[in-house]
């Protein structure tokens, strides 16, 4: 077990976001985090990262766990090239210059940005910035990766490469929390996950469930349930 959350309750500006949320992420598995916009997916990641400590409930994580995070809207220094952005974060971490030169190129290759490694970030497309964010999250060889919409803005090839990368990271034994609106892609890589519809309505699922019902159908069913509840 990498992290475990039990009975998490969280409010933001007097609006409840989670009421008794439970989840667990293990090594070598992809945990999908699904839900409509504004439901609190990024907030949940912020709790896991301990950037937000204002919540109730139990949150346990493995000792000395290293967590990497790829934000939904990456903001990197625009005057640097993609490779230099990675080297910047490596320097902040205190890596040796000799080490980060090689590692930055290797990370750029892993996310499919090798050909544009020396292009300025300001000239990157949204999808390229997203891939750079994923590369940034891999610095320091984390045990758990929180990927917030890593496929947003990606072209078809980019989405395929992202799926392959997530698959490889899983094989390497990393735990991955994946937040995405691309449900068909999530279905291909996720082992388990949760659909959060509102503060009280959740549905946990495993990849075995996809034999009976697709993730998109589960989502629609849950959203119908939510609108039925709100009418009553």
């Amino acid at each position: 077990m990498l992290i475990k959350m039990k009975g998490i309750k969280k409010s933001f500006e007097q609006k409840k976001i989670f009421n008794n949320l439970n989840l667990e992420i293990n090594k070598g598995e992809v945990f999908a985090l699904i839900g409509p916009n504004g439901v609190g997916k990024t907030s949940l990641m912020r709790i896991i990262l301990q950037w937000d400590k204002d919540f109730e409930g139990e949150y346990v994580k493995e000792e000395n766990i290293r967590i990497g995070y790829s934000p939904e809207i990456p903001m990197f220094p625009e005057i640097l090239t993609g490779r230099k952005v990675l080297e910047y974060y490596m320097e902040v971490r205190g890596f040796d210059k000799s080490r980060y030169k090689n590692e930055s190129v290797s990370l750029m290759e892993r996310v499919g940005l090798l050909l544009t490694k020396d292009t300025l970030v300001k000239n990157y497309s949204k999808g390229m910035k997203q891939r750079l964010a994923v590369a940034q999250s891999l610095i320091g060889d984390p045990d758990l990766l929180l990927l917030d919409e890593p496929s947003a803005g990606q072209d078809f090839l980019g989405q395929q490469q992202m799926q392959d990368l997530i698959g490889k990271l899983k094989e390497d034994g990393k735990g991955i929390m994946l937040s995405s609106h691309l449900l068909y892609d999530v279905e291909k890589v996720a082992d388990r996950g949760i659909i959060i519809m509102n503060e009280n309505l959740y549905r946990h699922f495993t990849k075995e469930d996809f034999k009976d019902m697709s993730l998109a159908d589960m989502f629609i069913e849950l959203s119908k349930e939510a609108s039925h509840e709100s009418r009553n």
Binding site: L49, W51, K53, I67, G68, Y69, P71, I73, P74, M75, P77, I79, L80, Y88, Y89, E91, V92, R93, G94, Q136, I139, G140
Partner: protein
Amino acid sequence: MKAVIKLHLKENIKKNSFIIFAILGTIVSLIVLFELEFSVNGMKSTSDYAIYGIQWRILSIIACLAGVTLSMNVIANHRQGTKRELLKLHGLPVYKQYLSLISGNIIVAFLMALILCLGMFVQIIIKGTDVTFFGFLMALFFYLLTILISTLFISLLTIIFPSVVAALLGIMIIILGNLRGTLEIIIGNKGGIFGNIMTVFLKFLPPLDSFGQLIIDFFMKEFSDFSKLFSSLFYLWLLIGVTYLLTKVVERNEN
């Protein structure tokens, strides 16, 4: 911290505002330095002490204002998106991020101050003013301390207030700081509760006028006021301490 400072320098020295300020500032300071003529009670002053005193003061004010312009948006920009959090995740605590940005602000302001000072250097060579190399270096050192104290003050304001408010306060503080001694005399003479409160308030302002005096005293080899030297350096030392404490408090609040 080094990586953040390096990036800050790269980002800010390439900025249009830096280049424009450097060009305009150098032109303005050159014009002022070469054309400056002023009179006291209708008598044209020809004393080097008076002329260079005014020139150093004008240079310091232009450089301090450059510091305000170059520092005003730095903290606000850093607070956008997940910049702070990502750096924290990679092992750099928030207070160290702020200290790095403030250090970067100071280095950028120093560079601008040195560019602006080139005019003074050229003028001394052309006019053949009677100054020693040591005197010039000491004057330059205190000139940079003036920039340090004002940029530090402005950076602190940008941590607490929104950029525009901080910039306006910064400009006001630079003006009041340069007039501190004069204002203390005027307000002190008035007396009363208002006078007493204002005198205490003035003590909190950066002693830019004292630094100005030290610059010209060293420049003209007429330094003798040790109490002014120590009180000015003490203020700087306190300000550095307050900066450290404030970044720690802000970090705790942001967490």
